[in-house]
């Protein structure tokens, strides 16, 4: 067994450096699967948008682009606070980690709150596909298809946000118990990668869903 086998390095690794690089590569491999999972939805979306451009523009018209833009800004802010949390971890500033993680959670909460308002608005305007949908249009079925993708994509994204917020909450608790140091902060770094990825998904969702045919 190597000397580096202190409590922080799992038995299958030789050094803390190897463990850190392995965790990093594992996280990126996981993010590739996420890219492909959202990517399949984006492909299907692109397919139908190419097929029914007018219907998709009409569907997008019912969305409130200001709310979308506001949420984009909120998520970008949360990405900044997340990056600063990781930086605080690198420098071993425990209070910094907790502060920035809490800010990130707060911003994530704001995002989800706005999302709830938007979903409620869609329900009021009978725009929930399958359950509660009626649009006065000659191609209502195609508009319903747009809303299928709107809910599938933003729903999957929101699910990722909820998972992310839960993870960040756990990290706050761990950080409070002094589990992280400049020698060991892999979980904070990995959670950061995840959070930024969720941000990237929204960076694409916003123009693709909210900004079609506005001109």
């Amino acid at each position: 067994m190597s000397e580096a086998h202190s409590g922080l390095v799992a038995h299958q690794f030789e050094t803390a450096e190897q463990q850190r690089e392995t965790a990093n590569l594992g996280m990126w491999s996981f993010l590739i699967t996420e890219v492909m999972m959202f990517g399949a939805l984006f492909t299907a979306y692109g397919f139908y948008r190419t097929k029914y451009p007018a219907a998709f523009a009409a569907g997008s018209d019912h969305l409130d682009y200001l709310m979308g833009a506001f949420n984009t800004a909120v998520l970008i802010c949360s990405s900044l606070t997340m990056a600063l949390a990781v930086q605080a971890a690198q420098h071993g500033k425990r209070k910094g980690i907790i502060l920035f993680l809490l800010l990130t959670i707060l911003l994530g909460g704001v995002f989800l709150g706005v999302k709830v308002l938007e979903y409620a608005d869609k329900y009021e305007h009978h725009l929930i596909p399958g359950i509660h949908f009626s649009v006065d249009s000659s191609y209502a079925a195609q508009i319903e298809l747009f809303y299928c993708f709107y809910f599938a994509m933003t729903g999957l994204h929101a699910l990722h946000m909820i998972v992310g917020i839960t993870i960040l909450g756990i990290l706050v608790a761990l950080s409070h118990r002094r589990r992280f140091s400049t020698d060991y902060y892999n979980p904070v770094e990995m959670a950061g990668l995840y959070w930024h990825f969720v941000d990237i998904v929204w960076i694409f969702l916003f123009p693709l869903l909210y900004l079609i045919g506005r001109s």
């Binding site: 590569l25 990126w28 492909t43 692109g46 097929k51 029914y52 690198q90 930024h196 123009p207 001109s215």
Partner: protein, 119 residues
């Protein structure tokens, strides 16, 4: 830990650029630039994500292996999209009947013309 420590000023700079680009995306959407509007919106989104990946996610300061993994993910996604849309966009390429009146066209027409009618 040999992780690269990036000064906070870079984070703030990237953050400001991302916000600015978001405003530009919204502005551009309201200008009538015809068929360019979709590629422009997508281009800005790609640029924004590249910034996030390179700086917030530290790929610029990481190993080449991480960069390879990120690119691989997006390359395979591009394969999925390009080939799927290739099918959709070439369905109308049917051979017209020649003088003998024998149609060489594919026997498939599932009423996919609907997209055209809506345009």
């Amino acid at each position: 830990m040999s992780a690269h420590k990036i000064p906070a000023r870079i984070y703030y700079l990237i953050f400001a650029t991302l916000l600015l680009l978001t405003m530009i995306t919204v502005e551009v959407a309201f200008y009538d630039i015809g068929i360019l509007s979709f590629p422009v919106a997508l281009g800005i989104a790609c640029f924004k994500s590249t910034l996030v990946i390179l700086y917030f996610m530290h790929v610029r300061y990481g190993t080449g292996l991480t960069g390879l993994f990120v690119s691989a993910g997006f390359i395979f996604l591009a394969i999925l999209m390009v080939f799927t849309l290739m099918d959709l966009n070439t369905r109308d390429w049917q051979v017209q009947p020649d003088e003998s009146g024998i149609s060489l066209a594919a026997p498939f027409d599932h009423g996919y013309g609907i997209g055209k009618q809506l345009r």
